[in-house]
Amino acid sequence: MGGLLEVKDLSLSFGGIKALAGVGVAIAEGETLAVIGPNGSGKTSLFNCVTGIYRPVTGTITFKGESLLGLSPDAVTRRGVARTFQNLRLFLNMSVLDNLLVGRHLHFKKNLLHAALRMRSEEVRHRRRCEEIIEFLNLEPYRKSRVADCPFGVQKKIELGRALATEPRLLLLDEPVSGLTAEEKEEVSYWIHEVRGRFGITVLLVEHDLRVASRLANRMVALDHGVKIAEGTPAEVQRHPEVIRAYLGE
């Protein structure tokens, strides 16, 4: 198995608090890996380190054999890593379509003169790609709506769509089903499954809903207080005594 993303010995601290202490995670091409753990166990910090928002103190992050350390977030995205956010970070005053088009930004051939003179052949080309995503996620009724006016469930879909628009090789999903109704959870899990099948994207997933996580993931990693406490198949990890202790106490 060729590792697509390899994180080794990653440490990050905020003052005296150790958010991550020597975490190592490897994800192979085409697999879905779920990261679980109680609140504050370092799941989102791990994401932020990989996407270049935080600079880890020690450790290495290799993606397709290339180090991601020290790169700015946009440079990380350009190399094929996309993510969604736990608390949605959409462009609220733009239309759904424009949000997706921002996701296409890095694929645009950029020419300031074309922009100023309304030469829009690039735009038309990328619009086609965005429409595919809109169709895939059933966002047609909301295409031109302002994102702030869309219901929460739809906003979650838009975030997924916007991340897909960057055409990533690796997709980091930060709690994709939190706050959704039972039906919406079903829907989103189906799409995450499809993302792998249809677009061939590797998925790294942070999720509190263990039912959804274990259904989607091939493998699971559990974190607690910034330390990896278990790794294996979803069933193994959920029965692991350390994991039970972390969630339920002694």
Partner: protein, 326 residues
């Protein structure tokens, strides 16, 4: 029926024939202004036209990119004095104007550097400092400001048998139209989307592949280019430059125009410019009252119509589109 048939159709400047007709009527009305309006109104509209260009630039920065700057008077001074000096060296009008814009744009890119680290009120303070510094430099340097008697700017020689006022009005109106069209094009392109993305959520914009440094500096450069051109046109209009013209009050007036006109709106910028020019002229008897009125208007606008005059305009348009059903 309003039916979009292709992606390209969706990206047109104005789609419906009625929009083109109304736009044509508006432009024709402005072109015919010297025939039906008093000469003083031609001059007023000239000032509005030059002001609207600066307000548009300021709106690109504040309204679209969300970077608050109080240093506009600095860029205005840089543009005006560059234009004045170039004109004195015998450079033709349009080249001098381009020079004014580019110099101010370059200064803007440099002033934009703090925006990579600073946000919101902190950036506002940093840019405010820049505006005051530029004012002080011009006020204390005789070489730059032309000394005690100020810097004279050679007047434009009218052509085509027009009076000077009308000739200048047409040139300024033409420039305003060009800048308006370019601004509409720019804000609806990938550049405009990147600007709005930075305003709405800078972290998400960065994670989507927008290079924050590049686009923040670009916003500053573009915005100060507009302000530089505004400064050049202002210098040409005044015919005489003194540093006192570019004090902090000028930055605030531009700011008022953006808020009253409407954040992130091109047509709002023009309306805002008209507001800050027309109100002092109409209240010429009560000059002392103008700053009070500006302050009051900002409060009222922010409370009752956060989208400014452009928001009002949008709502009235919607009303007539739905009429008579509502």
């Amino acid at each position: 029926m309003d039916l979009v048939e292709s992606y390209r159709d969706d990206l047109r400047f104005a789609r419906k024939p009625l929009t083109w007709i109304l736009l044509g009527m508006l432009v024709a009305g402005l072109l015919a202004l010297p025939w039906y309006a008093h000469a003083s109104w031609v001059v007023r509209f000239t000032v509005i036209a030059l002001y609207a260009i600066g307000v548009m630039g300021q709106n690109i920065l504040i309204g679209y990119t969300g970077q608050i700057s109080f240093g506009q008077a600095g860029f205005l001074a840089i543009g005006a004095y560059t234009f004045g000096h170039l004109k004195l060296l015998g450079v033709p009008f349009f080249l001098a104007l381009l020079g004014a814009g580019l110099t101010a744009g370059l200064a803007g890119a440099v002033v934009g550097f703090p925006s990579i680290r600073l946000k919101g009120p902190y950036l506002a303070i940093a840019t405010l400092g820049f505006g005051i510094a530029v004012y002080q430099i011009f006020a204390n340097s005789e070489i730059l400001s032309g000394g005690r008697s100020g810097l004279p700017v050679p007047k434009l020689e009218p052509a085509f048998g027009l009076t000077r006022e009308v000739y200048v009005y047409y040139i300024y109106l033409g420039l305003l139209l060009a800048f308006t069209i370019v601004t509409y094009n720019l804000v609806s392109s990938y550049v405009g989307r990147a600007f709005v993305a930075i305003r709405d959520s800078d972290i998400a914009a960065e994670v989507m592949g927008v290079n924050l440094t590049r686009y923040k500096l670009l916003a500053f450069a573009v915005s100060s280019f507009y302000t530089g051109v505004h400064g050049g046109l202002f210098a040409q209009f005044l015919g005489h430059l003194e540093p006192q013209t570019f004090n902090i009050g000028e930055s605030l007036t531009l700011f008022v125009a953006v808020i009253v006109g409407g954040l992130a709106s091109v047509e709002g910028s023009i309306l805002g410019a008209a507001f800050v020019i027309l109100v002092p002229t109409l209240l010429s008897e009560y000059r002392w009252f103008v700053p009070v009125l500006f302050g009051l208007t900002i409060l009222l606008v922010l409370i009752f119509e956060p989208l400014g005059l452009a928001g009002r305009w949008l709502k009235s348009r919607l009303y007539f589109q739905l009429w008579p059903f509502r």
